[in-house]
Symmetry: D2
Subunit: 324 residues, 4 copies
């Protein structure tokens, strides 16, 4: 449930307002030097601190993602044993969320968690909070460092915001939606170079199936396609089949791997919050003020998360394919 992978196994833990979030990364080869600065840089990108973009919310300024390493690394080198790490939840202001105790935010997992578990940590999304993706970025960056040593490089970028496809206009579009108290979706494209041909599995464990799984596991992701993708539906076979996306029959063909994923607009908008929340337990209106700290376009900060998940999938599959 909270683990991913077969040999490079990443287990994630933590709620947005528990003592910490973190993870355990198992199956990493021994003897690998970890570049901690690269991990910090990826976390900064996720937190929005590496950009002056208006797309980034004030949350970025407050979040400090200091990674505490618990095990598996000795003098900066991996031991082959599980690498455990945590990031303290310092920004815990549960009083901001008091109004959510008995209400369910639209478009959020509040209701579904309650339906599944009969209990939930109502403080700021709890386990469903996007804060959990920080742990993915830490683990994924270690995977990316491992891949880079083998000449495999992953590059994701935002290619569409709303119906805008010109990057130089993205900030402007986001600012407009933010100004209206609304939010907007985005599409991220990812390219992987340096993969050898013959990587992946046929039938169920096709490489594209694992990538789709990993992308759809990211909060707010609503779709995945690769190669000719959805656009290819209107092209004849003689043309569409020229765009393999780097995979045939679930296995790499030696050309760059290309895929896209779409992120929905965040549902936590000032406009949505202005709607009076109804207390499910007694039908009364909730008067408490819900502070909004969300981004107008979550796709912006999802870019390093897409890269991290891609790296975890590829490191795992490379590891599983070693003997063939």
């Amino acid at each position: 449930m909270n683990s991913l992978g077969n040999k490079w196994i990443f287990t994630s833990f933590g709620e947005s307002h528990s003592a910490a979030i973190g993870g355990v990364l198992d199956g990493i080869p021994a003897g690998m030097h970890i570049d901690f600065a690269m991990i910090r840089e990826a976390l900064n990108r996720r937190a929005g601190r590496s950009s002056n973009s208006v797309a980034v919310s004030p949350r970025a300024v407050r979040e400090e993602d200091e990674v505490e390493w618990l095990s598996g690394v000795f003098n900066g080198v991996t031991l082959g044993t599980p690498i455990a790490f945590l990031i303290r939840n310092r920004d815990a202001r549960p009083e901001d969320y008091e109004a959510l105790k008995h209400s369910f935010r639209q478009g959020h997992a509040d209701f579904t968690y309650q339906a599944k578990y009969g209990i939930r940590d109502w403080r700021g999304g709890g386990r469903a909070s996007a804060r959990e993706t920080a742990a993915r970025v830490v683990a994924g960056n270690i995977a990316a460092q491992h891949l880079a040593k083998q000449g495999i490089h992953i590059q994701a970028r935002l290619v569409q915001v709303g119906s805008e496809t010109r990057p130089e206009h993205f900030d402007e579009v986001i600012a407009r939606y933010r100004g209206e108290g609304d939010s907007i979706g985005g599409i991220i494209a990812c390219e992987v170079t340096g993969l050898p041909a013959g990587l992946g599995e046929p039938i169920f464990d096709k490489l594209q199936a694992h990538l789709a799984f990993a992308m759809l596991s990211i909060n707010a992701c609503k779709g995945f396609d690769y190669g000719s993708g959805f656009a290819g539906v209107s092209q004849p076979g003689s043309i569409a089949n020229l765009r393999s996306g780097g995979l045939l029959g679930g296995i790499t063909d030696g050309t760059p791997l290309t895929f896209r994923c779409v992120f929905k607009p965040t549902p936590t908008t000032p406009k949505a919050l202005a709607q009076l929340q109804k207390d499910q337990s007694n039908g009364q209106m909730v008067n408490g003020k819900i502070v909004n700290r969300s981004d107008a376009c979550v796709a912006v900060r999802a870019v390093p998360v897409v890269e991290a998940m891609t790296a975890l999938v590829l490191a795992d599959i490379l590891s599983m394919n070693k003997d063939i």
Copy 2:
């Protein structure tokens, strides 16, 4: 690699020209009556025999998918032990594929299998052949029967062929591409009703992640989205978030589950085959004639496969969620 699921575990085997294809379905509850006629009906839909559509190739007439049951069923009732079955490969005419022995068809997995394994069954696609999906349909139909008893119903349908979205014109579009010796893609939409709220897992094992995985594991599938999907990118949050697709935070919200997947045009077209095949071992042209038995739009026959994979995913997740 050739297994799917955690409790409802389906293992698939067989090449297009080995003695048989088939599967083993493990984890099925004991005491379930199997409706063999329903399984046959689904196989007929996959084979194209239930339609007079021009979309269907002559292959449908020849394929006879008689299921031989080996174990797990006693007097028509499941024992709780593995259900093994096979379908003989009667249509084995490897001489039709002799020309492929040393060449790789464009857009096919011929090359990638060779790269991965260093060996392949070159007769008709071997393990990568879409014939393997017949085993999925058998297993998936058993899952669908199990779900139906709990009021859960799955319905997939073709909603787009090329750029055409009016079903009554699909045959015409397909006939046109076939006439040109070419092929065309399609989009299948699937709806699931009757799912209880609270089904699924947060974080990695989100229900949409499992569905995406299952769909992308189908031959020729190039993409998946659910709810507002890719189209939702251009809608503001205040609108896009009204279309959850039945899932929030990876867990069902009690509304119908809706998703789409796109299938590329088949790469095996008369046009493609007319291109002279190059023998990879010696660089010479291949003179042998390659008989084409493929459909002009594989999405037509993929509809029951989409339903089967959806049923397998849902039966597995229902089973895994029993104790929560």
Copy 3:
């Protein structure tokens, strides 16, 4: 439930009186030549046909284990795809077992299967029958052939029958118990040579844990130990620790791997059957005659099964350890 392994994955199916038993072996490297004669020889040892020993029951003469290969092998060489095979159940005489329909044999799984599933195939043990081990022997022998090519050899032998430890007296002891309408247990010792040092995993997936799991999964096996084992309890550390059994901390140390497992006497004895069977549904005595076809010492025929399970465990762990 019916699968074993992480990369060399063996799935078993079949009841003693269903159409067939068999299995699917997934994760086998491509390009391996299969020696079918070796598989037959191992099956003969399991069936007791390679011995003139009085220990062997008349069942051996009747059982014919012809393996039918369904997929994964092309011209005698593995394709890297799943190898599926079956063995028909020709000796199906369910009428011999009619008396068992409503009764539970002592020491057998009749009652526990009924308790678990609420239904069972009462014919000859059904899924719990030792006949299932024939499928293990087929799969295990393929694994053993793979290991042999890497210089790894597995040798199991019967080292104790009752309290007798002199092999040349085993037949005599077994004949005595058989003559009394009773049965007797045995201990099998197994040695593996040629394993490289550094194989295995620390913590949960210790190599001895996997071996213990595999041995305890064999019908009638009641215990496992390795190296100094149970006998080592009365030796001081300065002596006991000299007998590592080939493993330290779950990982091979380069010395031969040695372990033992104990098999209980078969519970299906003439003496047990002479006891009148009680019909659980109405409390009446069952008059039907139950034919006994069981061996007086099942440990004799368990030797190739121990070797098969050892081979499956080692092939899997070797495969999982390739990248470290």
Copy 4:
């Protein structure tokens, strides 16, 4: 590798001298009240603090196993999300182990880890240290609390030390070996009451196979048997089969579950340490003094570890069997 279970999944991390050891427990039902005092009591038993026995080493006084809870519990109640916890390594005196940097202790995993990983944390056993079992006790105690609510109780006890089987003489025997600078093994018996009939899986996932796996995964455990076990080899079937040990065909029969496991003497004895250590890198003698903190009979403190592992196995199997 460092995870156990299919639905109740326990992941363990940490070296004896890394920042912390700990674990993540996933798949726990939501809404369960945790009794933290019970966990502490089990940890005390493992640390030897609850006994005045001479069997306990001075290490017990120093070890303080304060559990820090990171996630998954909110107001003392489980959320259904992963429970992460850690125990700081306060007793880190790596200088005591400096002499081990280039040498391998006999009977320890020092050499095999080096062979496997090419690197190791040489401080006090690192990952192979028995300290790791503290994390198992924490997770196992949560499982035991869950089982107790369903009327299932686990009780392990030391039944043999050396060749002594009278508990009131155990301290004396241990003291004698300690006095000689040596160590001695022990046998632990475990009984589980309250299990329903029908629990477990046939074929590979037999309940006894999972128990054997879990026991053999404990440091120093060299063997496992259940019911009539190894002793049953010399009993005729008519007698041995009366002692099922609570399991038939891998499935519980409703009688108490009984099994035993044997623990070897610790290899870290003053006698062993007095032997001059050889530096593997240069063949020179190592002069550094190695401080011995080990128990003379590790089986004493293994009792709560056996209970913890039993609880984890049973909670997992109960959870997996919910839908049948």
